[in-house]
C-alpha cells in the first residue's frame, strides 16, 4: 500500500507521482486529501488499484485502460470518458456525462448521477462497457447508445423524484438498458422499445449486479425483488429514412 498526500497538489504533479509509483511497481495506491484535481487516472494502462479519499475533479479515468479506482466520496463530471477497460467505483453521487463513448470496463456508482450518462457507449463481442447506477439519473440517459450495458436501480425507495429524466435512450442503435421498476414510455426516445427481460437477459443482469453488489456491499436478492424493464433499440438505423438519396 503506497500513499500519496495530494494536499494542495497541482494535477500534473499528482499524476506524475502516480505514474512514478506505478513504474516502481506499486500495485495499490491511496491518494489522500484529494480536492478537485482533474484527470486522475487518465490513460493509465496498468492493472493497479487506486483509492481516492476526497472529491476528485472532472475527467477522472478518461481513456483509462486497466486500473481499478475506488472513490470513497462523491465525484464530479466526465468520469470514464472513452474508457477502454478497468473499473471506477464511486461510493457517493457523480455528475454529468459519465462514460461518454465508453468502450469497455465498468463504472459502478452507488448514488445518483446527472445528465447524459452513458451516452454513445459502444461495444462488440470482444469487449463492452457496463455502467450501473444505484440512484437516479438525469435526462438523456444512454443517448446514441451503440453497445454495452446500462443499469439504473433507483435503490432509494424514499426518493420522490422519477428514477430517470427525459429523452431516455434517444438515438439508441445498439446495446441494452435495464431499469429497475417501471418505465414511463413518455420519457423514452422514439428509437427505444420497452420489454420484459427474458431468462438470458436476467442472467446478464444478475452477473453485472453481482459484481456491483460485491463492490458496494449491497444485497443482490433485495435488489432483484423488484422487476426490471429492458430497453433496446427498435431499429439499427434510427435515421435511415431521414435522407433523400
Amino acid at each position: 500500500m503506497f500513499e500519496i498526500d495530494a494536499k494542495g497538489s497541482y494535477y500534473r504533479d499528482l499524476n506524475n507521482k502516480v505514474r512514478d509509483a506505478i513504474s516502481k511497481g506499486e500495485k495499490e495506491i491511496t491518494l489522500k486529501n484529494i480536492n478537485g484535481q482533474y484527470y486522475i487516472g487518465d490513460g493509465l494502462r496498468e492493472k493497479v488499484s487506486i483509492i481516492i479519499e476526497g472529491v476528485p475533479g472532472n475527467d477522472l479515468a478518461a481513456f483509462m485502460d486497466g486500473p481499478t479506482i475506488r472513490i470513497k466520496s462523491n465525484a464530479q463530471d466526465n468520469i470514464g470518458n472513452t474508457m477502454n477497460s478497468g473499473k471506477v467505483i464511486i461510493e457517493g453521487n457523480a455528475g454529468d456525462v459519465l462514460g461518454y463513448g465508453m468502450r469497455g470496463g465498468k463504472l459502478h456508482v452507488r448514488g445518483d448521477v446527472g445528465y447524459r450518462v452513458g451516452i454513445h457507449m459502444k461495444g462488440d463481442k470482444k469487449q463492452a462497457p457496463t455502467i450501473v447506477v444505484g440512484g437516479t439519473a438525469g435526462d438523456f440517459f444512454g443517448e446514441y447508445m451503440a453497445g454495452g450495458l446500462l443499469i439504473l436501480l433507483g435503490l432509494d425507495e424514499n426518493d420522490p423524484r422519477p428514477i430517470v429524466g427525459d429523452y431516455l435512450g434517444t438515438g439508441m442503435h445498439g446495446g441494452m438498458i435495464f431499469i429497475r421498476g417501471e418505465v414511463d414510455e413518455k420519457l423514452c426516445g422514439a428509437e427505444v422499445g420497452i420489454m420484459d427481460p427474458d431468462a438470458d437477459d436476467l442472467k446478464v443482469l444478475k452477473a453485472a449486479l453481482t459484481d456491483y453488489c460485491n463492490d458496494l456491499g449491497l444485497n443482490l436478492d433485495e435488489i432483484m425483488k423488484k422487476s426490471f424493464k429492458k430497453l433496446i433499440p427498435v431499429s439499427l438505423r434510427p435515421y435511415g429514412n431521414l435522407y433523400a438519396y
Binding site: 494535477y11 500534473r12 499524476n15 482533474y38 484527470y39 487518465d42 490513460g43 494502462r45 472532472n58 475527467d59 478518461a62 481513456f63 483509462m64 485502460d65 463530471d77 466526465n78 470518458n81 472513452t82 477502454n84 456525462v97 461518454y100 463513448g101 468502450r103 447524459r116 451516452i119 454513445h120 459502444k122 461495444g123 462488440d124 438523456f140 443517448e143 446514441y144 451503440a146 453497445g147 438515438g171 442503435h173 445498439g174 439499427l236 438505423r237 434510427p238 435515421y239 435511415g240 429514412n241 431521414l242 435522407y243 433523400a244 438519396y245
Partner: protein, 502 residues
C-alpha cells in the same frame, strides 16, 4: 412504375457503331447504370452521376456522358437544382445529401488575389540553383528563445521547445476516416505522407492495423462519436486532433450511412454492422472553451503531452472562437472553410452555412496577433485548396500550413462527382464495396499523389523565388505580398490586403 419527376442530371450514351460489347462499362460502373440486354448494353441513365469511370475504361471511346439537355424552362431564379430538389423531397420527404465541397457560385477570393514578384529593384531567386526552405513546424512556439554558448564554443538552445510536428512541405492531408473512404485510399494517403515528409489524418474512424507502419506520419482524430479511440490509438500518431466541426457541415454532426459500415469498419468503430455511425452534432462534454480545455488536457495527460490540434469550421465568429481555442491550450488551430469536402452532408447545410477560408485565415491571424498569442498555436487552413497558388495565398494570409483532401482524391481518380455518400464510388475511394475498393491499388495511386506533392513543392519554390524569398517562413502572414483585384474596400480591409495598383 412511377417515374420520378426529378429528371436525371446526366445522359449516359453509347455509340452503338463503336461499341464492341466488351461489357467493361458494366463491370466498372459502381452505380449500376449499365446492364447486359442479351445483344447490347442497356443504360439506366437516371443512376448516372458522371464520375466518368466507364468513359475511362471503355476501350473504344464509345461512351459519352452529357448533361441532360432536357431541362426545365430557363429561369435565372428557379435553378435546375432548386426545382429538382423540391421534386426529390416531394417524393421522399428526406433531406437531399451530397458529397464533396460546395459547388455553388459564391465569390472565390483566392481567384481575386495576386501574388507579388520581384523586378529590377529586388532580385528574385532561382530555386533550381539556390536552396529553398519549405520545412514547416506545427505546434506552439515560445515567445522568445534563450541560446547559450557551451564550453565547446557551440551554441545551444536553452529554452525547452514545446512538441512540434515536422513537415517537409507546408501541406498536410485533411482527415478522412476509414468508413468514409476505403482503407486503400487511406493507404495511398499514408504512403504519400511518409514519402513526402508530411502527415495524413485518420479522421474519426479509428486506425486500421494496416496503417501502423506509417505511425510517424499520422495524426489521429477524436470527434463526437469517439470511434476507435483507445489509449493505443491516442498514442499512435504524432498528434491528436479534436474535431469540433467541418467546413462542409458546420454545426452538424457526422452520419456515416449503414451502407458504408461492413464488418471491418464496424470492428474499428465498435458498432453493429450496417447501423448508421452517428457522430453527434456537439461533443456533449464540450459546451464551452473551458470544457474544450478539459478535453485537450485530458488527451495531453493520456499521451504524455503530444501536440493537440482543434479543428473547427470557419463560421462568422471564427476569430473569437480561435482565440478561445488557443487559450484553451491547443497547439494547432485547424480552420476548415465552407468549400471543404465531405463524404456526406445535407446539401442545404453545405451550400448555405459557414464562411470562405480566405476570410477566416485573415481574421484569425489578425486576432491572434492583436492578442499577442499568435505564437501559441499554428494555423492550418483547409477547405478548397485547389493548387499550390491557393496554398501560397493561404499562407500569405496567415496560415502556417494547408490541408488538402479533394486534391488528393482527384489523384486517385475522383472527378468530384459529389456522390460519395452513396458508398458506390466507382473509383474505389469513398466506398467499402470490396469489388470497388480492390481497384484502388495503393502503390500505384500513392505514386500519383507523391507526384502531385512534388509538383506543388516545385511550384511553391518557384513562387518563393519570384518573390525573392528563400523560405516559406518569410511568406507566412506576409500580406504585403498579396494584392486584391476587383475586391471591395471592406473585403480588402478584412483580408489586410491592398488593391492591385497600390
Amino acid at each position: 412504375m412511377f417515374k420520378s419527376l426529378a429528371p436525371p442530371e446526366y445522359l449516359a450514351t453509347i455509340d452503338r457503331e463503336k461499341c464492341i460489347r466488351c461489357k467493361r462499362c458494366i463491370q466498372n460502373c459502381g452505380w449500376g447504370v449499365y446492364s447486359w440486354g442479351g445483344d447490347k448494353i442497356l443504360i439506366n441513365t437516371s443512376k448516372c452521376v458522371k464520375c466518368l469511370r466507364c468513359y475511362h475504361y471503355c476501350p473504344e471511346e464509345a461512351i459519352e456522358i452529357k448533361d441532360n439537355p432536357t431541362k426545365f424552362k430557363n429561369n435565372a431564379y428557379w435553378s435546375f437544382h432548386h426545382i429538382r430538389n423540391i421534386k426529390r423531397q416531394a417524393e421522399t420527404g428526406g433531406i437531399p445529401l451530397t458529397g464533396m465541397g460546395s459547388d455553388q457560385n459564391y465569390p472565390i477570393l483566392f481567384d481575386n488575389l495576386m501574388i507579388d514578384a520581384c523586378q529590377v529593384t529586388n532580385p528574385s531567386i532561382d530555386p533550381l540553383r539556390e536552396p529553398m526552405e519549405l520545412r514547416t513546424y506545427l505546434g506552439k512556439k515560445p515567445s522568445s528563445v534563450k541560446i547559450e554558448k557551451g564550453k565547446d564554443g557551440k551554441l545551444k538552445l536553452q529554452t525547452k521547445m514545446p512538441p512540434q510536428i515536422k513537415l517537409d512541405l507546408p501541406i498536410i492531408f485533411s482527415p478522412m476516416s476509414f468508413g468514409s473512404i476505403s482503407l486503400n485510399a487511406q493507404k495511398v494517403l499514408a504512403m504519400a505522407a511518409k514519402e513526402c515528409g508530411t502527415v495524413m489524418n485518420t479522421g474519426e474512424g479509428g486506425l486500421h492495423e494496416d496503417l501502423f507502419p506509417y505511425k510517424s506520419n499520422i495524426m489521429v482524430q477524436v470527434a463526437s462519436g469517439r470511434f476507435g479511440v483507445n489509449p493505443d490509438y491516442l498514442n499512435a500518431g504524432v498528434a491528436v486532433e479534436i474535431k469540433i466541426g467541418q467546413g462542409a457541415k458546420p454545426g452538424i454532426g457526422g452520419h456515416l450511412p449503414g451502407e458504408k459500415i461492413p464488418l471491418e469498419v464496424a470492428k474499428t468503430r465498435m458498432i453493429p454492422v450496417g447501423t448508421d455511425a452517428i457522430s453527434p452534432a456537439p461533443q456533449h462534454d464540450i459546451y464551452s472553451i473551458e470544457d474544450l480545455r478539459q478535453l485537450i488536457y485530458a488527451i495531453k495527460e493520456a499521451t504524455n503531452y503530444k501536440p493537440v490540434s482543434v479543428k473547427i469550421a470557419a463560421v462568422h465568429n471564427v476569430a473569437a472562437i480561435a482565440s478561445g481555442i488557443v487559450r484553451a491550450g491547443a497547439d494547432i488551430v485547424y480552420l476548415d472553410g465552407f468549400r471543404g469536402g465531405t463524404g456526406a452532408a445535407p446539401s442545404i447545410i453545405r451550400d448555405h452555412l459557414g464562411i470562405p477560408i480566405e476570410h477566416a485565415i485573415a481574421a484569425v491571424d489578425d486576432r491572434l496577433r492583436q492578442e499577442g498569442i499568435r505564437n501559441e498555436a499554428s494555423i492550418v487552413a483547409a477547405g478548397g485548396i485547389r493548387s499550390s497558388a491557393d496554398a501560397a495565398k493561404a499562407i500569405a494570409l496567415g496560415a502556417d500550413a494547408c490541408a488538402i483532401a479533394t486534391s488528393a482524391l482527384i489523384t486517385m481518380g475522383c472527378t468530384t462527382c459529389g456522390k460519395c455518400y452513396t458508398g458506390n464510388c466507382s473509383w474505389g475511394i469513398t466506398t467499402q464495396r470490396p469489388e470497388l475498393t480492390a481497384r484502388l491499388d495503393p502503390e500505384v495511386y500513392a505514386e500519383r499523389l507523391i507526384n502531385l506533392l512534388h509538383a506543388w513543392t516545385h511550384e511553391l519554390k518557384e513562387i518563393l523565388g519570384a518573390l525573392g524569398i528563400n523560405s516559406i517562413d518569410s511568406l507566412r502572414g506576409n500580406r504585403e505580398r498579396l494584392r486584391g483585384i476587383g475586391l471591395d474596400t471592406q473585403t480588402l480591409d478584412i483580408l489586410g490586403v491592398k488593391p492591385a495598383g497600390r
